[in-house]
Point group: C2
Chain length 179, copies 2
DNA sequence: GCTCCCATGTAATCTGTTACATGATTCC
DNA sequence: GGAATCATGTAACAGATTACATGGGAGC
């Protein structure tokens, strides 16, 4: 069984939804998976090409009035099986986030206190904005036109994002207090 | 002002401590920064080479009885300034963690429930082990031979790791309950 | 005419991992 | 003799970003 990278499996998974073009895949990831995944067009289009070459999906160009043509991809049974095999496979290791803010704080001794405080405040604000965006995604998923079966799992992942982000916000507050 | 990548700045920062060789840098990162940073020798040695070429540090080979020689690096004033400039610079964006477990869970509809549960249990276990390792790091920092000034900031970053990991563990528990 | 959104794609570059190569010393 | 730890380094590869190129349609 040939191996693909995670982003390719992400694309394979998204092709089970109604997002069928490269552009739509990018949008879905940016909008609904952005709390644990991101991707660029430089990955999407070559991956879609490979997916078709390997017989995991077929392409069809569809025209829509008043919009550019788009290439729509449909999983083949081989594609569905490849996805299922990956989903059933155990997870090797949990991710190590590379966090620039923490890296700088680690060397905080060589920073001015003013900078440390500004960076913490800034981080807190960005986390709060992120939290707010999760609430928006939550609303979109709950009221969206996706299947309830999908929504259930999507909300699980979102709950993760909310909890972890909230913990980080609380850490910012607690750390700021110590200055 | 020439720009370096984050891992190079991390190395520059570590050279302010008593870790002065490639090997020692790797150890410190694996032991004390592993909750928000990781690095491989394939990055460290070329980066050290560049750091010297650019005059940010000097090398000196030191011999220790009953141990192989090691190359010890010392920041120059230019190196210290480069580090300070980076530390003072604002943070562009907060990181997006790529999380394979969440990616699979997002497509949980196409997984057997058994697999979903196993993966969640497994993730929870790994997080608990990670939390425990943070407690060990905490102890090492608190009782270590590093300056108290450093220890203060190191414990801040560790607190982040603990809070976020605990939030993730709680999420695992809450999610498992829903099956 | 201009800007924004839709849409696809490639090439260069950067960042990071893995595998490999080498060799000293210590402890069993 | 063998395993573990200390120590340095490179080459091949994988993964991902960025910049660039192209072009249609909608609305102002």
């Amino acid at each position: 069984m040939k191996k693909y990278n995670h982003s390719t499996y992400a694309i394979l998974g998204i092709l089970t939804t109604n997002c069928r073009s490269g552009y739509a895949i990018k949008q879905l990831i940016d909008q609904s998976l952005n709390h644990f995944w991101k991707i660029s067009y430089g990955q999407i289009y070559p991956a879609l090409k490979l997916i078709v070459e390997d017989g995991l999906a077929t392409v069809r160009t569809s025209s829509h009035e008043s919009k550019p043509d788009r290439n729509e991809y449909f999983l083949t049974s081989k594609g569905k099986e490849t996805l299922r095999n990956w989903l059933e496979a155990p997870i090797e290791q949990i991710p190590v986030e590379r966090n620039e803010i923490l890296l700088k704080l680690f060397f905080g001794r060589y920073q001015t206190q003013e900078t440390t405080l500004l960076q913490l405040e800034d981080y807190k604000q960005k986390l709060e904005a992120r939290y707010q965006s999760y609430l928006n995604i939550e609303h979109a998923i709950s009221t969206g036109k996706n299947s309830e079966e999908d929504a259930r799992y999507w909300l699980f992942t979102l709950d993760y994002g909310k909890r972890v982000t909230m913990a980080a916000i609380e850490w910012c507050q607690a750390t700021l207090k110590q200055f």
